[in-house]
Amino acid sequence: MSRSDRAGRWRRSLFFALLALATALALAFFLLPLVAIFLRVPPGDLVAQLGSEVAVDALVVTLKANAIAQALILALGTPAAYFIASRRFRGRALVITLVELPLVLPPAVAGLALLAAFGRLGLLGGTFEALGVEVSFTQTAVVLAVAYVASPFYIRQAIASFEALDQPLLDASRTLGAGPARTFFRIALPLAAKGLSAGAALSFARGIGEFGATIMFAGSLQGVTQTLSLAIYAQFDLDFDVALALGALLVIVSAAILLTVKLLPAWTRSNSTSLFPFARFGSS
């Protein structure tokens, strides 16, 4: 083996070693803080702290507000996404951009904007007051804040899933006597289900961790508007262990959601005949 050969091989090994090192450092950076949460609080204390009134209240508020917000997101977002995906109309690109706007909007600004629209002194405040409805600093405000910041995650994914549908399948449904609504429920929805579930999981993850918009628009009232994230912030000065316990809970919930998204395609492919084997047979 010549000297230059050996030098070349050494350079290649060094390059891959550097890549591996960068990956390891990045992973350590992501994981170390999360591990630290669990190391600071002994598991027994963790469970005990979660039984505290503050923690239970925050968990209930978070789950309740997110369940309602997700239901709203699915109920409004799914038809909107199908409409945007299946129609070509003037200003479509603009509509898609507007739908994505909350993604890039700083959450604090989103909260401020919601306050300006629905708050007591806001744009629609008078209307709501006349109806006897108070929005800002109530649980309704938590729901609206979560829906506002989390819905783009779902709608974007839903548009992509509906656009990926095989158009001849939708056409076939129509020629077989099904109207547009039946075609949507029996063909489009089941075939897009995998992508829609992934989108819903992502938007749920975003909603669970919502902080900025909620604190601006809903405040942080224990048992009313104080979600897990807000409780962490509130407990930060009072009882650091409770804050850590709540943090640990959110880590577990987030990890579970991520895992669900990753595993989703695997199990939907195994228990239904997806388009992939269909296409493979067709070309053989």
Binding site: P168, T175, L176, G177, R186, F278, G282
Partner: protein
């Protein structure tokens, strides 16, 4: 009278589809190269594409009328469409696919198309032929007034194609419906259809029975599409009432067709005979030269001599001991030599 009638215009990407058709209780094939607008015709009839102008009626029912602003949605047209790749619903079983338009006839159709044993299977598990049967059964399940088939055999490999084609012919022969199928393969059209129309760039070139088209192709495209050899030359009247054609390479042919000036000569491979020596038969036209290619297809052999392909039986090729490079004579009758006058609008050739 039970017919599907259409007269439509529909602008497509690079040309304007413009045609009129009437299909009775028969199988009618629309043949043409890919991109000729064939599928758009089916989509317009099924209600999946909206023509710019014109009218489509089925059994006297108006499906589309641009002037009267009638445009029935696909689900109200009672037109069955079998898609090119069958478009079976992948998340449903065979039975659910067939029953999609209503449960009533599903069981009967599964039996009729011999897919009863596949009722619980998913489309992804089926062979090409089976998928086609499911596609047909599903389209017929809603009792359509007309059946449209988009390239019904193109999704199949060569191996299963001829068997599926025979099966499809059997099904179509027993249907009492106007059937309009589109294909790019003239041979498929000959096997399946009672009448054929050749479509190029959105316009019909010629309509007739398959034998009409072979006997008298109206232009060069139809001739080559139906499988003819094409040679070009100049025609002039000669003695004995025949037309003499001087080919571009200087050789002379005779035809019973009348023509004057630049022409294309169409000769079908099965009308060309191949011999080692010039024979003293009735054939007037002879092309001498070495065999440039020899391809066996089942019990036939295609022999290329110069610019001419002749088709002989494999047995004849064996008897003559034909090999590539052998010097032979290809002969064909003046009566089998069809002349197509070259016009400037056909194919744009000078």
């Amino acid at each position: 009278m039970d017919t599907l009638e259409l007269d439509i215009a529909l602008p497509l990407r690079s040309f304007r589809l413009e045609l009129a058709l009437a299909v009775g209780r028969e199988t009618f094939a629309l043949v043409g190269p890919s991109g000729a607008g064939k599928t758009s015709v089916l989509r317009a009839i099924a209600g999946l594409a909206r023509p710019q102008r014109g009218r489509i009626t089925l059994d006297g029912r108006v499906l589309f009328d641009a002037e009267a602003k009638v445009d029935r949605p696909p689900e109200e047209r009672r037109v069955g469409l079998v898609f090119q790749d069958y478009a079976l619903f992948p998340h449903m079983t065979v039975e659910q696919n067939v029953a999609y338009s209503g449960r009533t006839r599903a069981a009967e159709l599964l039996e009729r198309f011999r897919i009863g044993h596949l009722a619980k299977a998913r489309p992804g598990e089926l062979s090409g032929g089976e998928r086609q049967r499911v596609g047909l059964a599903r389209a017929l399940a809603r009792n359509p007034d007309a059946l449209l088939l988009d390239e019904p055999l193109s999704a199949l490999d060569a191996h299963t194609r001829s068997a599926v084609r025979a099966e499809l012919k059997d099904v179509l022969d027993h249907l009492d419906l106007p059937v309009l199928l589109v294909t790019h393969d003239f041979h498929d059209a000959v096997v399946l259809a009672d009448r054929v129309a050749v479509i190029v760039d959105g316009r019909l070139r010629q309509t007739g029975t398959p034998s009409d088209l072979i006997a008298a192709p109206s232009d060069v495209f139809v001739a080559s599409f139906t499988g003819a050899n094409l040679l070009s030359g100049r025609a002039r009247r000669s003695s004995g009432g025949l037309t003499q054609v001087t080919l571009d390479d200087g050789s002379i042919l005779y035809s019973v067709d009348e023509a004057e000036g630049p022409v294309d000569v169409a000769v079908y491979p099965w009308e060309v005979s191949v011999a080692r020596e010039p024979t003293r038969d009735s054939a007037l036209n002879h092309v001498r030269g070495p065999i440039t290619s020899l391809v066996r297809i089942g019990n036939r052999a295609r022999v290329q001599v110069g610019g001419l392909v002749g088709e002989v039986t494999a047995a004849s090729a064996d008897r003559l001991g034909l090999e590539k490079g052998d010097f032979v004579v290809a002969s064909f009758k003046a009566a089998a030599t069809r002349l197509v006058e070259r016009t400037t609008d056909a194919d744009g050739s000078p």
